[in-house]
Amino acid sequence: MSRKPALVVEPLLRAEGLAKRFSLVHGLLGARGEVLPALRGVTFEIARGQTLGLVGESGSGKTTAGRIVARLVRPDSGRIFFDGTDWLALSGAVLRQRRREVQVVFQDPQNSLNPRMRAGDQIAEPLRVQRLARGRALGDRVRQLLADVGLGAETASRFPSDLSGGQRQRVAIARALATAPRLVVCDEPVSALDVSVGAQIVNLLLDLRERAGLSYLFISHDLAVVSRVADRIAVLYLGAIVEEGPAQAISSRPLHPYTFALVAAAAEPDPSAPRRGAVLLGELPSAVNPPAGCHFHPRCPIARPRCRQEAPALSEAAAGHRVSCFYPGEVG
């Protein structure tokens, strides 16, 4: 493999071989039983000012990946380099201080905001904790953040229950932006919202990315939303990336049969548009006992004997486009 000399810009974040297993505890006595591998060695990069979309169904491991990046969950193995720093090695005061650089916007602002705290105080909290502002400057900063997310200063005195779903998500975004992060993990940020409100929030995230030079790790089950926001897309299936590449290539010429099914299932409100592809058989199998060979083979319309025995590796099929399939691009 020849490395391009010079001018190789270091990505903002590089995650290598992230793996995480959760023990499933059964029964009242907590007898330990099965182990759920949420992530099985996942590698990805996020370039500066760019957005990586992480797409997968429930149980694919996408949320775990986001939590590891935000240092909310520790992986069993793997490494993360954030702006050149060994991100997972940070601890204590340094970690507390640098946490501000990676913030999270969760799916449901109903749960991520404190119901007993006024919106302004929730936005001020990270500024206080990080000692970034105090006194009058703190109030000014909160008002500025509210304005940045399209809310009036009067919102500061309101409780989450007085706000609509869209307003709550705006408060959650303002809170995430309070510490001027460089990377924001957006975990299903519009999934709990009405369609028209979700569109407003996506627009806001796009505006903020431009204005503040943010990078996003944008996690969603909805390939259609992701295709609007992301520069590159990684598709997760049972804890592993099955395809990764430029957003446009993933949405228009998917190589993995699973990605193809997601493209086919993506909302298409034009009834005259051709119906694409066959419906996938069955559902995501248990991650505890994944199928042998290629984990996708029981649902795959083009599975062949080899797929039942051997697991394909994630390898480059075109420039900057990786796929783990023995027969890439054959479906469709």
Binding site: V195, H221, A224, S227, L262, A266, A267, P271, L280
Partner: protein, 348 residues
Amino acid sequence: MVSLSQPPKSEIQNLAAIAGPLLSVEDLRVELPVDGILHPAVDGVSFALEAGRALAVVGESGSGKTQLARAILGLQPDGARMSGKVLCSGRDLSTLSDREWRAVRGREIGMVFQEPAAALDPVQTVGAQVVEAIRLHEPVSRAEARRRAVEALAEVAFPDPERALGEYPHRLSGGLRQRACLAIALAAGPKVLLADEPTASLDATVAMQILELLDRLRRERGLAVLLITHDLGVVAKHCDRVLVLYAGRVVEEGGTAALLRSPAHPYTRGLLRSIPVLVAAGRQRGERYEAIAGALEDLSARRRGGCAFAPRCPDRFEPCDASVPDLYPAGEGRSRCFLSREAPRRGA
């Protein structure tokens, strides 16, 4: 079912009605109390649904779609006031007693909801729940009910229905739970299925399977489906007609293809532009949605005199503030917008 001798008069009426709509709603109005004052959550909704057809009721939070669904099932919150008619196979349901209602729900109108996990009893097997649904409406033996339960599960394409009888809901995936709910909903043989966001909690590929199953049930047993959803993408390929609700009123109705191709109402247009569609070829990085500005006001804060959408409408002009527009003909459908009155041929 139909005897060869002279049928009684009521049955003739029934047969005539069956040829017409299975479910019709006439000028339905549901008012909910907020701080002691009644506000219309559903405001004069009418529609008809025939056998084998699927009608989508599309609306966002606060549109009244949930109250509409509850009213069709004869369920109203405390202190609510309801008027208008709900007719099932020509029979007026608005005058039924609670007891008569229980016979209608499940037997004539089946129901499935967004969260199959919440709709199922966690401590009973799937089989027991299907059997219960059958025996609730028909005095058949346990063995017969069990045999029919297997049929019901097979009809919703449950893999290995015999084994499924003994499964508990928590052991099933979301998609299989929704299939179990469908089997229960259809167990007593209703002709109408009311499906309230049946795929909203499911993954995209699984949602697609459930929607295709509903399509098949319509074709094979003439099931009439009332699909309540916020998702126009779901509507596109699985419904014949669409009603768009805003602030409790129908703002646009029409055949799915025509309505989606040339929406007449500014709200429908905005909603369509807000749908996340796959952006692939020729896209621009970070292209914005043409989103609808603002938000729908709370029930108690809504304006009464003019068009409810006017405060958010890009096409607002003087008449919009003066009075509530009627449903004017627009293309093949109707639109509650003064622009459709001015130019009735547009959008055709």
